[in-house]
């Protein structure tokens, strides 16, 4: 399986960016964020892009718009996971810094999984899938190579 990263927002931002992880030839069926995002209606896309802007610009986490999970939740298994929300739509991803040597504060949210909200509680399946993909060495290399090429 091979992957690539596509920056959606914050291409030239010093501190943060939002990107989609893309599974080449759709080999990994769990990677759904980009395709689903592209097929959303225009209002939903604009709403998500607005939320990306807010997070990139450093606006505080508003749980109704976007948030992560801290150590107290799910025994701290998903502290690198992150979600953007609009109505029933959810874009799940993870946070990382592929530019540690250049910029220790840089943070990118790699969006991986799309889901529709079903219940009040987060569906842990989505977080498990994100975490599995986050820790995949091929994904890790794809992210690193994307930023190497950007240099």
């Amino acid at each position: 399986m091979s992957y690539r990263v596509e920056i959606e927002s914050g291409k030239s931002h010093a501190n943060r960016s939002v990107a989609f992880l893309i599974s080449e030839n759709n080999e990994n069926k769990k990677v759904t964020a980009k395709d689903k995002f592209e097929n959303l209606d225009i209002t939903s896309k604009r709403s998500f892009r607005t939320r990306f802007d807010y997070w990139i610009s450093g606006q505080r986490n508003k749980p109704s718009r976007y948030h992560g999970w801290d150590k107290s939740e799910y025994n701290g298994r998903y502290t690198k996971c992150f979600v953007f929300k609009y109505k029933i739509h959810r874009l799940y991803g993870f946070l990382c810094n592929p530019q540690k040597e250049k910029n220790i504060r840089f943070e990118i949210c790699i969006l991986v999984v799309y889901a529709k909200k079903k219940e009040h509680e987060t569906d842990e399946t989505n977080l498990k899938n994100v975490e599995q993909i986050r820790t995949n060495i091929i994904v890790h290399n794809a992210i690193r190579n994307h930023f190497k090429e950007k240099k």
Binding site: T43, T50, D53, Q59, K87
Partner: protein
């Protein structure tokens, strides 16, 4: 050139700045515990209509913006600005940043108040900077050379000094 998504169309730009406005209303509702139901009653519309506006601000008119602001005891201004980004690579500046800056400046109501802010700022700077030769370009005195070099380390390169602001 990689421009911001709001540069794709006027509707995209409008959506984003309208969303900023709605975000401010949401903050107000949160801080005052006014519900959307109560806001709807004040506006003489259904709660569903309010939710619709909050979820899709792209169709907000200036009239509605004023109505929604006033219903919450707020006012609204339109601000045109230049941010050295004429090609809109970085997107609009969040309207809440303008509000925060205005609040930090003591909420000046008129241009007279701006003069007061300027005078207070000058006084503050004069008290804070022991060696004004840093700004005048003359040689620093021996006594104050250490504090000046320390201050230089903390002042960003593009800072306009009070004397430069006066000259412009």
């Amino acid at each position: 050139m990689n421009t911001h998504w709001t540069e794709r169309s006027t509707k995209d730009f409008l959506f984003r700045i309208a969303a900023d406005f709605i975000s401010q209303l949401e903050d107000k509702l949160e801080s005052t515990s006014i519900t959307k139901n109560e806001l709807a009653k004040k506006l003489g519309v259904s709660k569903g209509r309010v939710s619709q506006i909050f979820n899709n601000p792209g169709n907000l008119t200036l009239q509605k913006i004023i109505e929604y602001s006033r219903a919450l005891g707020m006012k609204v201004s339109l601000v045109a600005y230049e941010d050295n980004d004429p090609n809109n690579i970085h997107g609009p500046i969040n309207s809440d940043i303008f509000r925060i800056c205005w609040t930090r400046a003591g909420k000046p109501r008129e241009f007279w108040d701006l003069q007061k802010v300027k005078d207070e700022y000058k006084q503050m700077v004069n008290l804070a900077i022991p060696d004004r030769s840093f700004y005048t370009g003359t040689e620093p005195t021996e006594k104050t050379s250490s504090p000046v070099s320390q201050i230089k380390d903390y002042i960003p390169a593009n800072t306009i000094t009070p004397l430069q602001a006066e000259a412009s």
